[in-house]
Amino acid sequence: MNALVAFFHDIPLDLILIQTVNGIVTGMILALVASGLTLIFGIMDVVNFAHGELFMLGAYIGVIVMVATGNFWLALVISALVIALLGAAIQIVTLRPLIGRDPLNTILVTFGISLILQNFALWYFGPIARRMPSPLTGHFNLFYLDYPWYRLVIAALSAAIIGGFWLFLKYGKYGIWIRATTQDRVMAQAMGIPVPWVLTGVFALGAGMAAASGVLFAPLVGVDHSMGLDWVLKAFIVVVVGGMGSLGGSVVAAIFISLLESYASIWVDPSQAVIVSFVVLILTLLFKPTGLFATPK
């Protein structure tokens, strides 16, 4: 007992609080990425392997617009729109022909797309990472650290986007269309809902959300062609832990896993802290494979 107390006494409280904030910030971005993924899966039964690449391309476009105009918000909006259009094009060309076939085909196809997009980025943008200047300079005092305001803004923005999206689903006319299509695709058609376009729209929405996360995240790290891979893996873990198709579940799972990883980074090297998410996944699979935080959607 004494050893336990001593153990916790040794860890500076402020370090824990700082990591909590960090965990929430990364968690919100992860939640935004995972939301798009779980949405696409919930409605279309499509596992979008290319999601990480949409995130990455969104970040690149954000950098380009930012460098050209100096306006971060313009970068965010343009990037989301462009990638949403790209998403729609991808869905129409490669996923529509596969409707009605075994859903495992969609994993293969989106995997092919992710290869194409990734190599395109490498070829077109080159291997050197690009930096995006932070739209908000200025720090505040978080204990002994100069904590950048920007990080809090990202978390708030991500939350706002997710919240806005949830409201859209619940109350908007198109939100009802999407929910009806998720529940019963056949009857949605019988009610005049243009289901093929709803599916395209959902994919585009998911893509746009991925792009937005990319732009929001860009000032924190360098933007390069491989940044999508790590995110897509983490996002998949979040989606499985949160319950595939459950928006609320993904958000909770994202924050939960990010917090755990942040705390773990106190003791171990960050590149090893990833193991935390793996452990959570294994435990979920062992005890509650439908998802730890699944809420009925």
Binding site: I176, W177, D184, V186, A188, Q189, A190, M191, G192, I193
Partner: protein, 243 residues
């Protein structure tokens, strides 16, 4: 009886469908005139539901023609058909269980070119005919009783202001008391000028509510006459529907 398919609202000619290797519809031909109530009778499994589904574009026809007001609609996607005026009320209702009653109705209301006024009118009409739905308008569809779900399924289709409603076994699983309510609903729809193609196992209801009746057996229409010419004890009824 004359096959006046060129003046019919919906007509089907020589329809063939398959399910894997099974030949389900083997050349079905029938028509429904404007504002008519037409019954489609037959034993279980003869293809009555499949006929409705094929008209609605939910099943692809291998051969044959489907016409709406004389124009071919074969191969037109279901959501377009709904917009063109074909309503579909399937077996086991299939309302959106996780949407509220109001949201269920909105899936039919939220269409192009419908003014807010008209939407309110349609809603009022639905709630007048089905006061129980008005009471439960914020409840999730899945919490409604079987009879209420049937009412919701029908009123949802009515929100489309359809020219014809394809009704698949509306009385299945309902209490006898509800059966007469279904009869009344069909009357009301008929008065409003909506055509109905009614698939049913309940022979007395069908004969009472329809102007004409088709009887199917093994994927093809075997008999066609005015409903008035038949009655429950009729030999033809016994032949095709008797146990």
């Amino acid at each position: 009886m004359n096959e006046t398919s060129n003046t019919a609202l919906v007509s089907v000619e020589g329809l063939h469908t398959y399910y894997g290797k099974s030949h389900i519809l083997d050349g079905v031909t029938l028509h429904v005139g404007h504002g008519e109530v037409v019954g489609l009778l037959g034993r279980n499994g003869v293809g009555k539901s499949t006929t409705l589904k094929t008209i609605m574009g939910l099943v692809t026809a291998a051969a044959g023609n489907i016409l709406l007001e004389g124009r071919s609609i074969t191969g037109v996607p279901p959501h377009r058909l709904a917009q063109m005026g074909i309503g579909y009320v399937p077996e086991d209702r299939r309302i959106f269980r996780l949407l509220t009653v109001m949201e269920n109705l909105r899936t039919g209301l939220d269409r192009h070119g419908v003014s807010e006024e008209r939407k309110r009118e349609l809603l009022d009409k639905a709630f007048t005919y089905f006061p129980r739905l008005a009471e439960r308008r914020s409840q999730a569809g899945g919490t409604l009783s079987g009879g209420e779900q049937q009412m919701l399924a029908i009123s949802r289709a009515m929100m489309l202001e359809p020219k014809i409603i394809l009704l698949d076994e509306p009385t299945e699983g309902l209490m006898p008391r509800m059966v007469s309510q279904i009869r009344e609903i069909i009357e009301v729809l008929h008065k409003e000028g909506v055509a109905i193609l009614l698939v049913e196992q309940n022979v007395p209801l069908t004969l009472a509510a329809s102007q004409r009746v088709y009887i199917m057996e093994k994927g093809i229409v075997r008999h066609h006459s005015a409903a008035a010419e038949l009655h429950v004890e009729h030999t033809i009824i016994k032949q095709y529907l008797g146990v």
